[in-house]
Amino acid sequence: MSVKIKGFCCNYTASVGVEALKEAGLVPEDFDMVRLPCTGRLEVQDLLEAFEKGADAVFVAGCMIDTCHNMSGSKRAAKRVGYAKKIIQELGMDQGLVEMFFVGRGETGPVVEAVREMVSRAEAADS
Amino acid sequence: MSQSGAIMVLGGGVAGVQTALDLADLGYYVYLVEKKASIGGVMAQLDKTFPTNDCSL
């Protein structure tokens, strides 16, 4: 069974587009990513709704904590991911199904790795 | 003072080699000075040349 992964990233991470990544077979077809001006804009509700809309795992890829374009955006995002973890845990889900990744400016490689990590977590949770 | 019939060419790439050849043909003695152990410069590293794809060497 294929798992559905939803990602959130900021303007400064993952410069290569999802379509190109899919075309090159680097990410699964059932992967979708939302680009925000800054991951600091992200809300806990967005993460929960991603699950609600069918995602098996959700991740956020923001800037490295000390090089966030907006100073503390990715730090905030990480905390919100933490709260989302708590809520899904209360719901009996594996809190690893939502995760924050810190990525160097413009880099796409670590984001693709994040997708793969989430795929394997989702598959493990599914089995 | 009589003029020298010799010329120094500094650099043995394609420009230097061509200058030296023409000067020799024109009746001058040429000192072709090159840092490396062989002449040819960057052109010797090229495989083919644009636009005819002629061999570079």
Partner: protein, 222 residues
């Protein structure tokens, strides 16, 4: 303000089992400020509940709304009309809000979304601390503005207990001993005389152990 916190999601899910249409009703008063029941929290709780129910294979229809205050009749007025299409209303106000709705709005099945915890203040972002017990007889003028009723674990009136060490409370060493702080403060203000005075035995009748308290003000009554 009144401090409250979200009930665990599974407890809420239990509470709403069988409910098909739910209104999650926020309050923009104290609970909004202490990030427990404002618009944003309503969204989070709703999302969590929808997710939980859909994972249970029992999808639920949830609407979200927020009132300015749930403890004021004028804001509560439209509620019965709003609520009539729902099996239940999950109030994310403090207990006052939930009670008030239950009291006033006939036919509304109101459920608490939060645990109301204490009267407190915002210490720093994300940290609240109790400051007042609402005992009905203030002694703050005698204690440098620091309340021994709410902030002393034993609500002592005449100085610290024997367990206060290094300025910390015996019950919870991460909490400062309020009497230690009262002492420091009064000494600084050179009001050590105050400390000599023995506080009379407290009248606890105002502390609400005799049924719900009520307050009237003649000049304002209709």
């Amino acid at each position: 303000m009144i401090i409250a916190e979200r009930k665990p999601v599974n407890e809420l899910l239990d509470m709403i089992s069988g409910v098909k249409k739910l209104l999650v009703l926020g309050c923009r008063g104290c609970v909004a400020i202490c990030s427990a029941g404002g618009d944003k929290e309503v969204g989070i709780i709703s999302a969590a509940l929808r997710l939980g129910r859909s994972r249970m294979g029992e999808p639920i229809e949830i609407e979200e709304a927020t009132l300015v205050r749930q403890c004021d009749p004028e804001y509560l007025e439209p509620l019965p009309d709003m609520a009539k299409d729902y099996d239940a209303v999950l109030s994310t106000a403090c207990g006052v809000g939930v009670n008030f709705i239950a009291d006033r709005c006939e036919g509304v099945n109101v459920l608490p979304g939060l645990n109301t915890t204490f009267y407190g203040a915002n210490l720093s972002s994300g940290e609240w601390i109790e400051m007042c017990a609402g005992c009905g007889s203030c002694v703050l003028h005698l204690t440098g503005g620091l309340c021994p009723v709410a902030r002393c674990a034993k609500s002592l009136s005449n100085g610290p207990c024997g367990g206060s060490t290094g300025g910390k409370c015996e019950i919870n060493p991460s909490v400062p001993c309020v009497w230690h702080r009262i002492y420091d403060k009064l000494m600084d203000r050179k009001e050590e005389k105050r400390l000599q005075e023995i506080m009379p035995i407290r009248d606890w009748t105002t502390a609400g152990h005799g049924g719900p308290r009520r307050r009237l003000r003649e000049d304002l009554l209709p």
